[in-house]
Amino acid sequence: MKQAMTPEEIKEQKPYLDWSLSEDEYNYISDTLLGRLPNYTEAGLFAAMWSEHCSYKKSKPVLRLFPNKNDRVIQGPGEGAGVVDIDDGQAVVFKAESHNHPTTVEPYQGAATGVGGILRDIFSMGARPVASLDSLHFGELDDSTTRMKVDGTVRGIGDYGNCMGIPTIAGETTFDPCYQGNVLCNAMSVGLMDQKDIQQGKAAGVGNAVMYVGAKTGRDGIHGATFASADFSDENATQRSAVQVGNPFMEKLLLEACLELISKHPDWLVGIQDMGAAGIVSSSAEMAAEGKSGMDLDLDLVPQRETGMSAYEIMLSESQERMLLCVNKGHEDDVRKIFDFYDLDAVTIGRITAGHQYVLRHDGQVVCDIPVSSLTDDVLEEESTEHKPVRITVAEQEPVWRPKIDDPAATLRCLLAQSTIADKSSFYQQYDSQVRTSTVVGPGSDAGVLRVRGTHKGLAMTTDGNGRFVYLNPEVGGQMALVEAAANIVSSGAEPLAITDCLNYGDPNDPEIFWELHQSVKGMAAACRIFDTPVISGNVSLYNENNGQAIHPTPMVGMVGLVKNIDRVVPSFVQQAGDQVYLVGATRDDYAGSELQKMLTGKISGVVRPFDLDGVHTTMRHLLHAMENGHVASCHDLSEGGLGVALAETLFKTDRGMNLDLRNLTGAQLFSETPGRFVVTVQPDHVPAFEQDLGDAAQLVGTVTNAHWLEAHLADSDLNLSVGELQQIWEEAIPCQMKSKD
C-alpha cells in the first residue's frame, strides 16, 4: 500500500504536529537518529512511541524520585507489572493504570477496557489476576451528564470484571466539580504467581518467532496514546474513534490460553507482552529493545477484521484482547495448538533478526526500517519549567479558616449524605466481589482482603487519592495519599508491602502544574521511604484538563499489604458490647481541604499543614503489632469527615452503639481530617496489652454499648444520635441523587 504522504510532504505539511510530535522532535529524528526524512508510517510510530503516555518524556525526571527497591521487590517498574515476594516461593503482582480520557468520552467502554488492559499487564507477567480495584473521581451528581458517566463507568467496570471472573474487592469513588469535564478512572489489578513462572516482555534469539495471539486488529483506538497526551476541549468531546471496544469473553480465553502456555510450557516461550497503548508497535519495539534484538514483521500476516488497513493503522490500532509472544523457533505449531483449543488466533507475524533494525513490511514493500532504540530509548526527555502556583502563595498569607460547629449532630447528618462520604454499595454491588471464593473482606471496608489458598496468608489492598489536599499543598498532600493507603492496609491487620500509582495531573507544560507534579511526587517518595513501600509499577496521566481547566492534582496510591495470619484479619466495624473504644493518633485543627470545609463553604481553601510522618509511621507499626498479637477487636481509619463519620461507620450494619467521653475535642474537631488516626475497639481482657503496645498514641474514649445509639460528650456540646437514622441517611444519599431527573 502506498503511504498517505511522501516524506517531503510530511516535512512540508507537518501532520505530526496533530499527533503531538513537536517540530524539534521531528527534526531530531530526521537529522540525528535517521539521517533522512521519516516516511508516513515511521512518523506515526515515532509520534505514538514518543508520546508522554508511552515514553514518560515529561515525567521521567520526577519519577526518578521514587524508591523502587527493597528486599521483597522482585520486579520494579519497566515490565508489565511489579512483582513482590510474599514468601513460600510465591509473589504478588500488581499495577494500576489510568483510563481517564476514554472514560470521559465513552464511560462504559472506557472503563471496561481500562479493566481489560490492566488485567493483561498482570497475566503477561505469568500471574493469575485474583482481584481488581478502582479509583474513580467524577464531577458532582447534581449534573445529569455526570450521573450518566457514573452509571456507564460502573457498568463498564462491572461487566468486564464480572465476565472475566475476577472479583472487584475494593476501591474509592469521590466527587468534585474539578472532575466534571475530565473523569478519572484508574483501574488496579492484583495477581498471584509462583516466582518460578515470572515472565518478561522480551524478544531475543535470531530466528525465533514473533507471534500475535488473541483478537483481530481493527481500526479502533488508533492514536489512543497521543489522545491521552493532549488536553480535552469541547471540540474533541466527541472524539470517539480513539476509544477502544472491549470483549471480556475474548480476554477470558486469552487469559486461560496464556497461563496454560506459561505454566506448562515455559521452554517454548522467550517473552510475552500485552498490546496496550500504541498496540503492536509499542509491544514489539519494547520487546525487541529489552532483548537487544532486531525484528522483522510482515503486517500482511496480522489477523485483521477490517479490509484495506494501512501499515500505519495496523501498527497503531489499540484493538483490545491481543498479546505478542516471542516463541522459540520450532514451537510455533505447539503454541498455535494451545490457542486453537480456546478458538483464538495465533499467527507468526515475523522473526527476530540479527542487528538492531526494526523492519516492517506491508503489501510487499518495506514501510519502516529504523533502529529499535530510536523508538524506545532515544526519546528526548523534556525539560520542564516549574513554579509555585500563585494561589498557594496567596493562601499562605490568608488567615486560617476555622469552622464553628454549634450543632455537631446536624453537621454529622449532613456530612453522611455528602456523595464522597455516603454509602457506595449501589455501585459496588454491581461488581462481583466474591468469585474465586477467596474474598475475606469485600468492598465497603478500609481495605479488601483475600486469602491465599493453600497458605495461612492473606493480601490486603486499597486505592486512595484525595486531590483536594494535593491541590492545597502538593508535597504534604502527596504524603497524605500514601499515609491514607497505609492506614487502610494497617486497619485490616496487614503490613504494607509496596505501592503502584496513577499520577493524574493537568497539562505539564503549565509550570504551576509541573510544580504540583514535582512536589507531590517528592511528598509521596518521602513517605514511601519511611513506610518502606517502594513504587513497583504505575502510570502517569497528564493533560487531564477540560477547556483549559485542570483537575486537582490527584496522585492515586494503590497499596498491597501482607496478612501474616488470615485468622487475625481485623474488621472495620465494632464487635462486642463492653469493648473499649480508643482514638489512636492526635487530633489537630485540620480543616483545609476537608469535607467539612467543602460542605460549609462550597469550596476548599487554606494551607494543608505538614504532619509528623515518622510519628504516624511509628504509631501504625505499634498498632499492627497489637493486631498481630490479637489485641484489637476492630479498627477503622479516619479519613473524609474525620472522627464523627468514622464513628458512625464503625457502627453501621451492627446493632451496637457507643458511649464516648470526647471532652478534649470541640464539635469542629469531631470533623477535623488530621491524617494517621484510627478508631480502635479492644476487648476488656486485651486492654493492658493493647495500652502497652500503643502507649500515649492511644486515648481511651469510651465503650461499645448494646443500645444502637451514638452518644458522646464534647467540650462544647453533646451528641445523642440514633445509629439507625444515620445509617439511613448514609445509605439513601447516592441512590436518591442518581434517580434525580434534573
Binding site: 457498568r155 462491572g158 461487566d159 464480572n162 465476565c163 472475566m164 471472573g165 470483549n247 471480556p248 469473553f249 475474548m250 477470558k252 480465553l253 483449543f341 480456546y342 478458538d343 454499595s425 454491588q429 454491581q430 461488581y431 462481583d432 466481589s433 466474591q434 468469585v435 474465586r436 471464593t437 477467596s438 474474598t439 475475606v440 486469602r451 489458598r453 488470615i566 485468622d567
Partner: protein, 226 residues
C-alpha cells in the same frame, strides 16, 4: 461418588465449585472440558457459574450446543444428579432440562450480595440436610436471574414441589413467585441462581451452602426412580 465440573469457554465459577467439593468436602471431583463427548465414570455433574460464551446472544444459549451437552442430558435421563448454579442454571433451562427461563434482572443491573432464602423443599437429593422451610442466606451474583415461566408451568412446579429455593425477604431480580431454584419433575436436576459454593467456609463469612453439597454427597449414589 465421582463428580464432574464442566468447564465451558467463559465459565469462571468452575474453580469455586471444584474447591467447595474437593478441598472443603473432600469429594472426588474433576474438571471436564466442553470439548469432551462423554461423562462415563462420573456419578454426578455440575455446571458452574460464569459467562459461557460471554453471555452472547442469551445467557446459556450457546453453551447448550457444546459437545458435552448430550452426555449431560444422558446423565439427567439416567436419574443421576445434575446441578447448575447461576450460568449453570441458565444453561440447564436453555437445554430444556429445566422449565422456564432466566430474564434480565428487573433493575437492568448486575447485582452481587447475600440474600435471604427459604428452603421450600428439603426432600430433594440436594437439600435433605436443611430443615423444612429453613431460612438461609446465600450470595447471588448475576445480571440475568429473573425466573420466568407461564402460569401453568409455575402452578405445576409448585404442585410437584419442584420449587426448592425462594427469595425470602426481598426479590432481587423480579423472579416470578420469588423463585430462586427449581428441580425437574424427577428431582435429580437442580438449577439455582444463588451460589452455594461461595458459602462453604467460615473464613469467607458464610457456611449456609455447605449442607447442599453434603446432602448430595450423602444421597448422590441413590438413583432417583422414574
Amino acid at each position: 461418588m465421582r463428580i464432574a465440573v464442566i468447564v465451558f469457554p467463559g465459565s469462571n465459577c468452575d474453580v469455586d465449585l471444584y474447591e467447595a467439593l474437593g478441598t472443603v468436602c473432600g469429594a472426588d471431583v474433576a474438571y471436564v472440558s466442553h470439548h469432551e463427548h462423554s461423562l462415563v465414570g462420573f456419578d454426578a455433574v455440575m455446571l458452574p457459574g460464569g459467562f459461557s460464551y460471554g453471555d452472547y446472544l442469551r445467557a446459556g444459549a450457546i453453551a447448550r450446543f457444546t459437545n458435552i451437552m448430550p452426555a449431560i442430558i444422558k446423565m439427567a435421563e439416567e436419574g443421576k444428579p445434575v446441578f447448575g448454579t447461576c450460568n449453570g442454571f441458565q444453561i440447564l433451562t436453555e437445554a430444556g432440562l429445566l422449565p422456564g427461563a432466566l430474564k434480565r434482572n428487573d433493575s437492568q443491573r448486575f447485582v452481587c450480595k447475600a440474600v435471604p432464602l427459604e428452603v421450600v423443599n428439603n426432600q430433594t437429593l440436594f437439600t435433605s440436610r436443611y430443615r423444612p422451610h429453613e431460612r438461609i442466606s446465600l450470595p447471588i451474583a448475576h445480571a440475568d436471574g429473573s425466573f420466568y415461566a407461564d402460569q401453568k408451568t409455575l402452578d405445576r412446579l409448585e404442585a410437584n414441589h419442584q420449587v426448592v429455593f425462594r427469595y425470602a425477604e426481598e426479590n432481587p431480580n423480579g423472579s416470578l413467585r420469588n423463585i430462586a431454584g427449581i428441580t425437574n419433575q424427577r428431582g435429580n436436576v437442580l438449577g439455582m441462581m444463588p451460589h452455594p459454593e461461595r458459602a462453604v467456609e467460615a473464613i469467607l463469612g458464610n457456611t449456609d451452602g455447605l449442607r447442599l453439597f453434603k446432602s448430595l454427597l450423602t444421597n448422590g449414589s441413590v438413583k432417583v426412580g422414574e
